[in-house]
């Protein structure tokens, strides 16, 4: 599974990086990020593109999620 690290990046860069990975054909992706806002926005984007979102780590300053088609 491809990994995408968006830790420390401010809005809307995490969403853009995720979108780029999806547009490049990724069907499975492990995404790591740090802010709550980016977690909300990335999972919203993934869901809107028909992905299943599975949040694996959910701390206030670190999160990891798997998204799958």
């Amino acid at each position: 599974m491809n990994k995408l690290d968006v830790r420390g990046l401010s809005c809307p860069v995490p969403v853009l990086r995720t979108k780029k990975a999806i547009d490049d054909g990724a069907t499975e992706l492990l995404i790591m990020g740090s802010s709550q806002v980016s977690k909300e926005n990335v999972s919203k984007l993934a869901a809107s593109q028909g992905f299943k979102v599975n949040i694996k780590v959910d701390h206030k300053d670190l999160w990891e999620m798997e998204i799958k088609k």
Binding site: S10, C11, P12, V15, S34
Partner: protein
């Protein structure tokens, strides 16, 4: 519409309504809330510029920062973080203020001015959309200012809120340090700086809006950005709410006067209304948030956003000392030059910070 969208719509409606009420209670026209104008007034009250008509320690700003801080602390989101091109952000904050003072308002006041019937604000709004569009172009080409790091200490995140709490103390206590010259705080005897709602109401509204804006992540440049980028209308709904909330109460209070001429604290130099908010939209998109959002983030411990806020206050001082700020008579030559320089500098930063 899901629950979140209803909540941000309600937030917007309340902010718009509060803004009209603040004007009713004494704030300047169409300026119930204006992040740029109020930060400029704060620069003035601290004696950083000499424009006697725009000096007041606006409690709304203090309330927004502290309200966002308390909310972030209770939700566990308060974390000191920073280190993403901090000085660049500071300078960008200065230019964002120059753009706002060429137009005479931040994006929030632009909505409030449109809701008051000020057609000049519609011209500015078009510039704002174009500016955000320019920022989106850079974002799509890989622009970012670098990663921020969480700090091992939260102290840095508390600094700006503590400074503003101290300012609130100075305002409430009213002590004069220097009886001959005045100060620590200077207050306008006339002009917009002398027009203000009672302190308690301004502060209370600021705290409440700080809470709601923190929860909803309300951002005015973000609303347009997300719609262009990913066709997401969540933040835009908040934008719409502010407009409707202010419009309804402006009509009720008799503040609604459509037209270009005779608008409160506004000018009709269309090209500069357009370019002023173009600069704000472009800068805000590169920074990741409008002036309001930067205040809220700085309450959450974001030290990079705090650098933008301080940059805006310092920028406001330059604006008045260097004769860059517009007045109801229009924008002077120096303001026009500074606005163009700002757009050039932002374009330079936008190209330079691309990452493949």
């Amino acid at each position: 519409m899901n629950r979140n969208k209803w909540f941000i719509l309600l937030t917007g409606l309340l902010i718009g309504a509060f803004a009209a009420i603040l004007v009713k209670m004494g704030n300047p026209g169409n300026m119930g809330f204006c992040i740029a104008c109020f930060e400029r007034d704060i620069a003035g009250t601290l004696g950083l510029h000499r424009a006697g008509v725009v000096q007041y320690m606006r409690p709304e700003i203090i309330g927004l920062i502290l309200g966002a801080m308390f909310t972030a602390m209770f939700s566990g989101e308060f974390k000191a973080r920073g280190g993403s091109a901090t000085l660049v952000r500071f300078i960008m904050g200065m230019f964002m203020m120059i753009g706002a003072l060429v137009f005479l308002g931040c994006p929030l006041r632009d909505i409030l001015r449109m809701a008051g019937g000020d057609y000049n604000a519609v011209v500015g709004f078009l510039g704002f959309i174009a500016g955000v569009g320019g920022g989106v172009y850079f974002l799509k080409n890989g622009f970012n200012l670098g990663r921020a790091e969480y700090s091992h200490s939260n102290v840095g995140g508390y600094l700006l809120p503590i400074i503003f709490a101290f300012f609130l103390f100075l305002l409430l206590k009213g002590t004069i340090f220097n009886p001959e010259a005045g100060g620590p705080l200077f207050f306008s005897a006339e002009g917009p700086g002398s027009m203000a709602a009672p302190i308690g109401i301004s502060l209370g509204v600021g705290l409440l809006v700080g809470f709601m804006a923190q929860r909803t992540r309300l951002c005015l440049s973000g609303g347009i950005r997300d719609f262009i980028l990913i066709r997401d209308n969540y933040l835009l709904i908040g934008f719409l709410g502010i407009f409707v909330g202010a419009l309804v109460l402006n009509i009720v209070f008799g503040f609604f006067k459509p037209g270009f001429a005779e608008q409160p604290i506004a000018h009709s130099m269309h090209i500069w209304n357009f370019l002023g908010l173009f600069l704000v939209g472009l800068t805000a998109t590169l920074l990741g948030g409008c002036p309001l959002r930067q205040l809220i983030l700085s309450g959450e411990g974001d030290m990079d956003a705090a650098a933008v806020v301080v940059g805006m206050i310092v920028g406001a001082a330059f604006c008045h000392n260097f004769m860059l700020a517009a007045s109801p008579a229009g924008v002077g030559n120096y303001g026009q030059i500074a606005c163009i320089i700002g757009i050039i500098v932002m374009t330079w930063i936008g190209f330079s910070y691309r990452e493949a």
